[in-house]
Structure formats: C-alpha cells, structure tokens
C-alpha cells in the first residue's frame, strides 16, 4: 500500500484533541513556516509540490495562490470550502471529524502564505456535528497559541472562524459560497471579476477545498519536491477517494495518484472487488457530475492502455471515451444497476439544487428530470432520447456557474454509452419497469 500523508494517524485514539495530535507531529508545519520561511517561500513550496485542487476542478494550487491580488492596505482572505455535497463524495467529512487539527494546521500555514489575517471555514450545514468538533479544536488551538495574536511569537496573527451553510449544494461553488458567507442568497456571481481579485467582501480571496488545505501540511513538512515524487506526471501526491456503491469494501482510501483503476476496484488492499461476485457495469469516477463510463472504458482507455487514478489518465479521450477524477467520489455499479434510473436520480438532484438564477439551468434541469422520469417509468419515446441530448447541450457551457455542466454531463454521458438501455426502456416498457429490472446488453464504447 502506498504512503499515507494525510490519514496516517487517523485511527489513533484521541487524535481529534490538540494534545494527541501534537504528540504525533502536529503543527510542525506551522512552526516551520512561521519561524523559518517567508510567505513567498511557502507559496513556492506549494508550487513545487504540483498540488492540484482536490475539490473537483484540479487547478494547480500554487498557481491559484500566486494569482491572488495583493493591493496595499487591503485585507485578504483564505476560505476553506467544506461544503462537501457532491453525491458520492464524503472524504472531507471524515477528514474534518477525525482530524480537525490537520485542517486547522493547513489553514494557519496557508493563511500565513497568503497574508490573510482572518480566515473562514465554510462548512456544509448538514454537518453540524463536524462543526462542533472543529469549533472545539479551534478553541484548543487558540489556547495553545497557534491562533490569535502573535502566533508563536512570530508577529503573525490569525483569526479562524467556522461558518455553517444552510444546506444548498450550490454553495459549494466558490462564488456562491462567498455570497452565502457574506449573509446573502447563495447565488453564484458572474465572472470576471474572479475571487482572487474581488472575493469575500470584494477583497482578494482564495477558496480551497478541505483536502487541498490539509495537503499543505505534508508539503511544508517534507518539502514540495518530496511531495512531487509521489504520483505520476502532473498528478502528484496522494488523494482521498471515497469509494461507494456495489463494492466489497466501500470506504475512504488515501491512494497515491497513479494506482490503476483495475487494482483500486479489485485488489484486496482497496475495494476488494464487486460485491456478491457480480460483474461491474459502470463507474462514476469523480462524484455524480462527471461522465459515467462503462466497465470496458473505465478499466482501459480507448487506446487499450490501463486507466490510472490520475487527473490525466481518467480524462484521456475527452468526453467521448473519458471522464474526470473530479472530487474523488468513486461510485461503482454492478450489472443489476439500471442506468436510466440512476441518471434520473442524479438529474433529480440537480433539478432540486439549481439556484434558479440563469435560465438554461433553471429550466433545463427540470426538463431533463421530467423526460428521464418518463423514460424510466416506461412512458418515453425514441425521440425523448435525442431530446435529452439536445437539452443537455443547450445547458452546457451557457450558464453562469459549472452547475449547468454538472447537470448536463452525466445525462449526456449516460445516453452516449448506454443508449441501448434507454432504447430498451422505450421498446420494452413492461420489462424495463419491472422491479429490479436492468438491461444486460453491451455498452456503446466509442
């Protein structure tokens, strides 16, 4: 099994307390950064590490940090996006509830690097118990002198706040998150201006995912170059994968990027294969927003190479035969899964979660859901299938924020690879709507 940088001590008794966490080497990165490094050196180290955003888009973190505008006399903010609500993704919840101090440590080091004097953790409203854990941990960090005025006598001061959302998926979009944090309705903003120039309270702001901020800790401790040695190519370091669905051992795995998908699914070290000895049908590799792939394409690329758990390998072939690593929400589906029903279910989610601000997403998500409902319940027609593709295309790329794409991609990909199954729902409505029915024919591979 590969190295674990984030979750090495996750099962140590009492690791959520400051004392135990400190005993296991906690807060070393804060000491190192504040006492021996300048903020720019910290940013440089993160750049060297090749760390990429763990929230889904995979944008290089060091680059994002260096884009932050730094006008004189204007406060800057670091905001942690802990609004983890993507279906299939549950890594941040576990990280925060088990290792709250890891996130706090990353927040202190990151804030120091960016010159932020006040930082926020915006946490999903449903995770109220995690909020309490974090608040307790923050109080401990204040008491130990790692937060507040003049941290470790370095002259650097930082205040850290946790703020809960009210349960909207859209508030995981960075500008909607900032609106919500400001106390407004969580509608995404038009960009530009980007948060790096005008973010929270119209000040320069960096928004990072929980796992990204946590990864700063091992990067500073061991050095960016050491971190970059893990992984393959531009996908460096480790990544938390929350595996769920029809697996023998679902759960959260910290993998070194570059593990073959086949090994991740079938080896006993990771998920241990498909449950009940069944065959794998399809995989959604990075949270419900990314394109679904049939078994043949998730294990091997269209060119016949082994598919690896990296940003590049998973997106090999574009959206025709590829997908995305996304947020690491790995959903495996066995041969008894009905793809139409699953797509309808995803679509229902996006319909419910669209903020309603821009017209293609507001109207289109509902429309797709209704058409899919019709197909799933045996009332669809052949032209409904093309209609779905057309509506998805009308949404994609024409909206203010990526939720439009997130809603359109899974539908478009499901029709692309499982068109036969949709057609079967139209031609054999009785069989298709029988309880537990699933199409067993081949998928479309190209």
């Amino acid at each position: 099994m590969g190295r674990k940088l984030l979750t090495e001590h996750i099962n140590v008794e009492g690791i959520n307390t400051f004392e135990v966490y400190r005993k296991h080497g906690g807060y070393r990165s804060v000491e190192k950064a504040l006492k021996t490094m300048t903020p720019d050196e910290v940013v440089e180290e993160v750049k060297k590490s090749g760390l990429r955003g763990r929230g889904g888009a995979g944008f290089p973190t060091g680059m994002k940090w260096s884009f932050l505008a730094k006008p004189e006399g204007v406060p800057r903010y670091l905001v942690c996006n802990a609004d983890e609500s993507e279906p299939g993704t549950f890594k941040d919840r576990q990280l925060m509830s088990k290792l709250p101090h890891l996130l706090i440590e990353g927040m202190i080091t990151g804030s120091y690097a960016l010159g932020a004097r006040t930082s926020y953790i915006y946490i999903r409203g449903e995770l109220l118990y995690v909020l309490r854990i974090l608040e307790k941990a923050i109080a401990e960090a204040y008491a130990a002198g790692f937060l507040g005025e003049n941290i470790l006598g370095s002259g650097y001061s930082l205040d850290l706040h946790v703020h809960p959302g009210a349960g909207a998926y859209i508030c995981g979009e960075e500008t909607a998150l900032l609106e919500s944090l400001e106390g407004k309705r969580g509608n995404p903003r038009n960009k530009p201006p980007f948060p790096a120039v005008q973010g929270l309270y119209a000040r320069p702001t960096v928004v990072n995912n929980v796992e990204t901020i946590a990864a700063v800790v091992p990067i500073i401790n061991e050095g960016g170059d050491e971190y970059a040695k893990l992984g393959v190519g531009k996908s460096t370091g480790t990544k938390l994968i929350s595996a769920c669905g029809h697996l023998n051992k679902p759960g959260i795995y910290e993998i070194e990027l570059g593990v073959p998908v086949e090994e991740f699914i079938y080896s006993d070290e990771y998920c241990g294969g498909i449950w009940k000895g069944r065959d794998l049908k399809a995989v959604v590799a990075g949270g419900s927003s990314v394109p679904i792939l049939p078994k043949e394409l998730i294990l091997k690329t269209a060119a016949g190479e082994n598919r690896l758990m990296t940003y590049e390998s998973l997106s090999d072939g574009g959206f025709v035969t590829g997908t995305m690593l996304g947020s690491g929400g790995f959903i495996a589906m066995d041969e008894t899964t009905c793809i139409v029903k699953n797509t309808w279910n995803f679509s229902r989610f996006y319909h419910h979660e669209s903020c309603g601000q821009c017209s293609p997403c507001r109207e289109g998500t509902g429309w797709m859901e209704k058409v899919l409902h019709r197909l799933e319940h045996g009332h669809g027609s052949m032209h409904d299938i093309d209609l779905l593709v057309s509506v998805a295309k009308q949404i994609e790329g024409n909206t203010i924020c990526p939720l439009g794409e997130a809603a359109a991609w899974p539908v478009a990909a499901a029709v692309r690879h499982f068109r036969h199954e949709f057609e079967w729902h139209v031609t054999h409505p009785k069989e298709a709507t029988a309880p537990g029915a699933a199409y067993r024919g081949p998928a479309v591979l190209a």
Binding site: A168, N190, E353, G356, P360, R362, Q394
Partner: protein, 338 residues
C-alpha cells in the same frame, strides 16, 4: 477608448463599456437581446443568457478567442476585441435554445396578459424562437400572492430576471421583496405576504420584461396597442420624482401612466406612485406630444405618431366626432408635429 469589431462593424467606445452597450452604439438588428440586463440598475445582467455572444478575439494584446460564449451585458470590451453575434451560427442556435428554455414554463397566456404587445419575451420569442414546443410536461405554476392594491404579481409568468429585486433594493430604503425558493421553484415574493408600500414601488412594473408585474389600475382595461402614448409632465412634489411620464390614452381617458422608456425598453427617469396611479386626468398634466416608440415591438407596428390626436383638442369635441376620429384618423391635429 477601446476599438472593437462587432459583427464586422467597427466601433470605438470608452474603456469599461460592456459589449452590449457597444453594440447599442451601433444599433439596429445586430444588438443582442437583453431580458435581464437593465442599464439603470446596478448589478443587473448575466442571468437570462439571451445576450450570449462569441468573442473570437479577446483583445489586440491577447487575440485568443474566449472558450465559451460570454454574456455581452456584463463583459467589458478590450481594445481590439472581435465579437460575433448574428453572423455566428453557434450564437444563433444557443439563443434559440434560450428562448425555448424561457418558454417551457411560461403560461403563454398572451391573449389575457396586459403586457402583451410590449413584452420583451414576446419580442424575443418572435425574433429568435420556433413556433412549436418540444415540452410535453405540465407547466410550473405558483400560488397567487397579493402584494397590494396597485401592483399585480403574476408569478407564473416570471422569468426571474431579478430586475424588480434590484429596483426594490436600489430605489427604496426598505426592501420588502426578493427571491424565495430555489431552482425552477424560485419565486418573487414579499415574504409572509407583506404589501409593498413605498412611493417608488410602481417602478417594478416598468422594469418587468414580462407580465409578471403589471399595473392593477390598468388591469384588463385595454390592449396596449389600442392605446396611444403621449409624453407629459407635471410639477411633482415627491422627492426625487420630476414628473416626466408617458400617458396612455384611449379616446379621452388616460388609462395608465408609465415612465418614459428608451429604444431598449429601459426607463429614462423613475417616477413616483402618485404620478403613476393617482393622476389619471388630462388636467393633471402638461402635454408635450405623442411619444415616439422606437422599439421594434408589436406596439411599434401601430405607428402611433400618425393617429395620435391631441387629447386636449379631443376634450372640446363632441363625443360622436371623437369616435369618428378614432375610427378613421385622417389628420394630425394641433401642434403635434414635433
């Protein structure tokens, strides 16, 4: 100053101008439609996506095309920018899609809607839409909310442009209405059915591009294309209202009062509720002459200028003559040639 090329036409505009406003300087049929953007309202725009255009060269310095279509109402120009609107097939296809999206949950009750004839959605659909629908499902409807005796809220017709929300926010000190709910269930509301009570609240009627907010005092009185607009003013004592309005006549009667609008349906000056709802006698106003409708819309098809008769003159005529004039308007009367 920045020089941009819009649909092959060069125009020079001050830095910071949006692409949409640069196109409006050129004018004519190349101007992208705007359903949510409203120049007098800060922060408006970017929501309806009707004005999406293709930027095929970002600027002289960085001539790369922008990867996605951009909302022209909120994207500012760069020197050397090349923008494609009507000459780009992708833009036209996307726009057709936007019309479709806006219409799938719209009740299409134009025959009984007071906005018909001056409705932006009607114009937009007429210019860019198709005549059939692919939507088979039941349309979304809302519970009726009564927001007072002056303004009629018909949420089912709303396209969520947020204009009225910005108007209420920016024109009045106390905000009493906003958007509730999420997704296609979002609605304009006053929360716990508060009645809108503010001297400038009537302006939400003028900014509404569709028939979601209409004038209750004008409700079902007349189709707008049968009424004749006349510019008028009065010495208004309300703070911040200068009393310059358009009166809409049917015969001798002033059926409604609105603010004056420009070619793009944007209000030039906000008016107060006293002017709008309480002053419906010709004697309340000093008439200036027929209002020029420069907007390409159903109401513009009526060529108001010709049949408009000075209402003051009408007042002095016997009713039979007035009716005859209405039926057969052969001439312009009294000093209305400006």
């Amino acid at each position: 100053m920045a020089k941009i090329t819009f649909d092959g036409i060069e125009v020079e505009v001050p830095d910071g101008t949006t692409i949409l406003n640069a196109a409006r300087q050129i004018g004519g049929s190349i101007v992208p439609p705007a359903m949510c953007y409203y120049t007098p309202l800060k922060g408006s725009g970017g929501k309806c996506r009707a004005c999406l255009v293709k930027v095929s060269a970002g600027s002289a310095k960085d001539p790369r095309p922008m990867p996605k279509l951009v909302a022209s109402c909120i994207t500012t120009v760069q020197d050397g920018m090349v923008v494609e609107n009507t000459i780009n097939q992708q833009v036209m296809d996307v726009r057709k899609g936007i019309v479709e999206m806006l219409l799938i949950n719209h009740p299409l009750d134009c025959p009984v809607c007071d906005q018909a004839g001056e409705c932006s959605l009607q114009d937009f659909a007429f210019e860019h839409g198709v005549s059939t629908t692919r939507y088979e499902e039941e349309r979304r409807t809302f519970e009726k909310i009564d927001i007072g005796p002056l303004i009629q809220l018909h949420m089912t017709r709303c396209i969520l442009c947020y204009r009225c929300v910005y108007t209420a926010d920016q024109l009045t000190p106390e905000r009493v209405h906003g958007v509730l709910g999420r997704g296609d269930a979002s609605e304009i509301g006053t929360y716990i059915e508060n009645i809108i009570d503010n001297e400038f609240s009537g302006n939400v009627i003028d900014v509404c591009p569709v028939g979601a907010l209409t004038d209750k005092t004008f409700r079902f009185k007349q189709r707008v294309w049968f009424t004749k607009p006349v510019d008028a003013h009065r010495d208004c004592t309300t703070d911040k209202c200068n009393g310059r309005v358009t009166l809409w006549y049917k015969g001798k009667d002033v059926l409604r009062v609105t603010a004056r609008k420009d070619a793009y349906g944007e209000v030039k000056e906000w008016i107060c509720n006293t002017c709008r709802f309480d002053k419906k006698e010709t004697s309340d106003w000093v008439l200036e002459g027929p209002a020029h409708i420069s907007r390409a819309s159903v109401i513009a098809q009526n060529h108001y200028e010709l049949p408009v008769v000075n209402p003051q003159v009408i007042q002095d005529l016997p009713e039979s003559t007035t009716r005859e004039l209405e039926r057969n308007p052969p001439l312009r009367l009294g000093g209305l040639n400006n």
